[in-house]
């Protein structure tokens, strides 16, 4: 195993995850927003919300065509690329994968029921199906992220002379990272769903003249997303704070790398922006907020935050994660601000027409929030390097002994490119052929079955 094979294996799995995570995240956020639409429809009896639910269900159905196979690739290639890692996981941390299968079953069964039996089942059965779909998707995400949590804070076993002993699978399951990771992943997935939903509506409002039927339709969608997205963004900023304190306690070198902190100190500054150079141990072009990092890590300025110098150089994660960290937090703040502005504009200023700059700002929040998910996962996984299981199993010891992975990697990249382009094209052409106006003018037709295969 040469270094380059390890790098290719990491690139391969990283590419799979980067691709899958988009669809997995939307796979939670979109059904949640569909559920919101169905709820509002049930409450207000406003047909627009029902149409919204159906059009988003169509999107969800198409995205599923990528989400499921890319998830299958992720799950299986864990064993193919990281057999050393999966042997330990199989012995100690099999439960989340096991339970995830059931969550996945519930999601798949009830999504099929919701989609393909939409007009055969009652409104109540539809809501129940959607709740189960969302719960199934959320549970899947929480469970799989729990494996990631375990990688950072392994628990429930001991290693004696290279052998794994005293396995307690439930202690491994409820490892110290479980709750904080589960919360962060769930909240940000719903938040991303809401902002993607809202961004689509905002973009459509830019394309339609104020006062038109479509404009009104989309502004309902926009308001619903901003309320949901804003509320969840607020919660996830609190949870993000908890995540940082968690790192301070359990993975100090990750926090130090994310913050570009070399010297252990109290009253540590918070670094925003800039680049961190591991050789000169300097930070360039960044803005430092005095004392803020200490406060963030331990709620007091006296908190001593450990710097990278305390750890051997070969245990440092790559320092570019500082930029990922900034990007993730930045997008979170931006989304929160935009949601607040939108809500103020619509609800408190009672304006029916939103200014163009605000609509563009919301449109931008959609792709940005997907980007933030990518930043967050790169920060989380690259920040754990050089380990797959923190201080127990190194990435180099986890990787397959096979060489010449380059060709396979190329094939995967090509297939992801093909699928990525195809999914965008399919959605684009579908909604072009089925414009909103058709649905709006057919409101009385309850038998509009988008899903029937003819």
């Amino acid at each position: 195993m040469t270094v380059s094979d390890l790098v290719i294996a990491r690139a391969m799995f990283g590419t799979t995850m980067a691709f899958h995570i988009i669809f997995a995240t939307l796979g939670i956020g979109i059904p949640f927003m569909i559920l919101m639409s169905e709820f509002v429809f049930l409450k207000t009896k406003d047909q627009d919300y029902s149409i919204m639910a159906r059009r988003w269900t169509k999107t969800k159905g198409v995205l599923l065509g990528i989400a499921i196979p890319s998830g299958t690739i992720a799950g299986v290639s864990l064993s193919l690329l990281w057999p050393g890692f999966m042997e330990v996981i199989g012995r100690v941390m099999a439960l989340p994968f096991q339970i995830e299968i059931y969550a996945f079953f519930i999601e798949a069964l009830f999504l099929s029921i919701y989609v393909y039996a939409y007009d055969r089942i009652s409104a109540r059965a539809r809501i129940i199906s959607l709740v189960l779909v969302t719960l199934g998707a959320l549970a899947s995400a929480v469970l799989i992220s729990n494996v990631h949590a375990f990688e950072g804070t392994p628990a429930g076993f001991r290693v004696v002379n290279g052998h794994i002993v005293d396995v307690d699978p439930w202690a491994a399951f409820f490892n110290p990272g479980f709750f904080v990771t589960a919360g962060h992943v769930s909240l940000t997935a719903i938040m991303t769903g809401a902002f993607v939903f809202g961004a689509t509506a905002a973009y459509k409002m830019l394309r339609n003249s104020p006062g038109s039927r479509s404009y009104k339709f989309h502004s309902k969608a926009l308001f619903m997303s901003l309320v949901t997205g804003g509320a969840i963004a607020l919660l996830s900023s609190l949870n993000g704070h908890a995540s940082a304190q968690f790192l301070h306690e359990y993975q100090p070198e990750k926090l130090a790398a994310a913050e570009g902190l070399f010297e252990t100190q109290s009253h540590a500054p918070l670094l925003i922006g800039g680049t961190v150079d591991p050789d000169t141990k300097e930070v360039k072009y960044g803005v430092e907020i005095p004392w803020a990092l200490s406060f963030l890590a331990g709620n007091s300025f006296d908190t001593v935050v450990r710097g990278l110098n305390e750890f051997p150089r070969e245990h440092w994660p790559p320092l570019f994660i500082h930029t990922m960290f900034n990007g993730m937090v930045g997008v979170g703040m931006y989304s929160l601000l935009i949601a607040a502005l939108g809500i103020i504009w619509i609800k408190f200023l009672k304006k029916e027409v939103l200014p163009k700059w605000l609509l563009w700002a919301v449109t931008l929040a959609g792709p940005l929030s997907v980007l933030a998910i990518e930043f967050g996962w790169i920060l989380a996984c690259t920040g754990r390097q050089p380990w797959t299981i923190y201080h127990i199993l190194s990435t180099a010891d986890s990787v397959t002994s096979q060489t010449n992975l380059g060709t396979l990697y190329l094939l995967f990249v090509l297939v992801y490119l093909l699928l990525g382009i195809a999914v965008i094209a399919v959605l684009y052409f579908y909604f072009k052929r089925h414009p909103l106006m058709n649905d709006l003018s057919n409101q009385t037709d309850g038998d509009d079955k988008n899903y029937t295969v003819h």
């Binding site: 159905g61 065509g65 990528i66 499921i68 196979p69 890319s70 299958t72 690739i73 799950g75 299986v76 290639s77 064993s79 193919l80 690329l81 990281w82 057999p83 050393g84 999966m86 042997e87 199989g90 012995r91 099999a94 439960l95 994968f97 096991q98 339970i99 995830e100 299968i101 059931y102 996945f104 079953f105 519930i106 798949a108 069964l109 009830f110 099929s112 029921i113 393909y116 039996a117 055969r120 794994i164 396995v167 699978p169 439930w170 397959t400 002994s401 096979q402 396979l408 094939l411 995967f412 297939v415 699928l419 195809a422 999914v423 399919v426 579908y430 079955k449 899903y451 295969v453 003819h454």
Partner: protein, 347 residues
């Protein structure tokens, strides 16, 4: 290997056998149906493509869950075996994953992009029918003889793999069985929806592909004796069950031609059930003969087994999980498989 006692290892490998079997049947029906939907795409007169699609749309996801369930079951119950399998199956495994991704995505897209529907169905139909062949190649690989050691690391010899008659026999069996089982199922499905024209088409297909699958099964046995005699000898100890499996095949054929209700020919539901029993018997004999090896000759169910505490927790989760899921499965089945009037309303 006589007189097995019910140890944790046996319990675990039986569960895995169960998953393999369920996925083999569901996957065959799934990939086969995709292939038939492609074959009959231009037949204006029959509804055969629609029947296949109507089966596929709601079920492919559920079938897909089973392959994930199977892989997870292997790495959680036999982590050491997963290590060996993961190492040697890197190339075929990646190919399967890539094909599966293209197949599933294009299958879903074909329902949405009306304009490119036939192209998408062709791609998903062709990639879909290669997948069972590659999946089935895992069995001969596990029988040993294809793994070479180079510089102290084990690698699958692709040259040896693709020159082995036994591997091709398994692949032929996989493809013909997929076509056989799926046409049987679709015949039953057509009959339930009172589409007698599609029924005749699929019944004919089952009658053609059935014997092909049986011939390739014989071909497997013949080549097995030469290439992996250890498992062949073990299988022969259960020859009565193998014969019973062959008898089931004949019975399934008879069930297709005897007169049914309302003057129609054949009781396809019965044929489906008998054919599943046929495959169950044969795969039991194969699986039993494979014991105690998971990957011959290095990994056995004992050496590959997980930590006992872990196994107990995992096993409890299985029991509880399936108990909770069962009503969901039943509701699903009754919505999409059973209810005749609902099936027809979709037309």
């Amino acid at each position: 290997m006589t007189g097995l006692t019910l140890t944790d290892e046996i319990l675990a490998i039986t569960l895995i056998w169960g998953f393999v079997f369920i996925y083999a049947v569901m996957g065959s029906m799934d990939f086969g149906a995709g292939f038939w939907s492609m074959v009959y795409i231009n037949r204006e007169k029959t509804n055969a493509t629609n029947i296949a699609n109507r089966y596929l749309s709601p079920t492919w996801e559920v079938s897909n869950v089973f392959i994930v369930a199977l892989v997870v079951a292997i790495y959680s119950m036999f982590p050491r075996a997963a290590y060996s399998l993961g190492t040697i199956l890197l190339v075929p495994g990646c190919l399967i994953l890539l094909l599966l991704a293209i197949r599933s995505a294009f299958l879903v897209f074909s329902h949405t992009a009306e304009k490119y529907k036939s192209l998408l169905i062709y791609v998903s139909g062709v990639t879909g029918i290669i997948i069972p062949a590659l999946l089935m190649a895992v069995l001969p690989i596990s029988q040993g003889g294809y793994v070479v050691e180079m510089n102290g690391r084990e690698t699958l010899s692709l040259a040896r793999l693709f020159t082995s008659p036994n591997v091709y026999a398994f692949m032929a069996f996989a493809i013909s069985s997929s076509l056989f089982l799926s046409s049987l199922l679709l015949a039953d499905y057509s009959k339930t929806s009172d589409d007698m024209r599609a029924y005749d088409v699929y019944k004919r297909d089952a009658i053609i592909t059935g014997p092909l699958s049986l011939i390739s099964a014989f071909f497997i046995m013949v080549t097995l004796e030469r290439e992996a005699a250890w498992i062949f000898d073990e299988m022969m100890k259960n020859i009565p069950l193998l014969l019973a499996s062959a008898v089931c095949f004949l019975l399934a054929g008879i069930a297709l031609i005897i007169p049914g209700k309302n003057g129609t020919r054949g009781i396809p539901r019965l044929a489906v059930v008998i054919a599943i029993i046929q495959y169950m018997l044969a795969s039991y004999v194969y699986g039993r003969a494979h014991l105690p090896y998971i990957v011959y000759p290095n990994v056995t169910i004992q050496s590959g087994f997980t930590d006992p505490n872990s196994f107990r927790a995992v096993f409890i989760v299985y029991v509880v999980g399936f108990a909770i899921l069962f009503p969901g499965f039943y509701y699903f089945w009754s919505l999409f498989m059973k209810n005749k009037s609902l099936q027809q309303r979709e037309e």
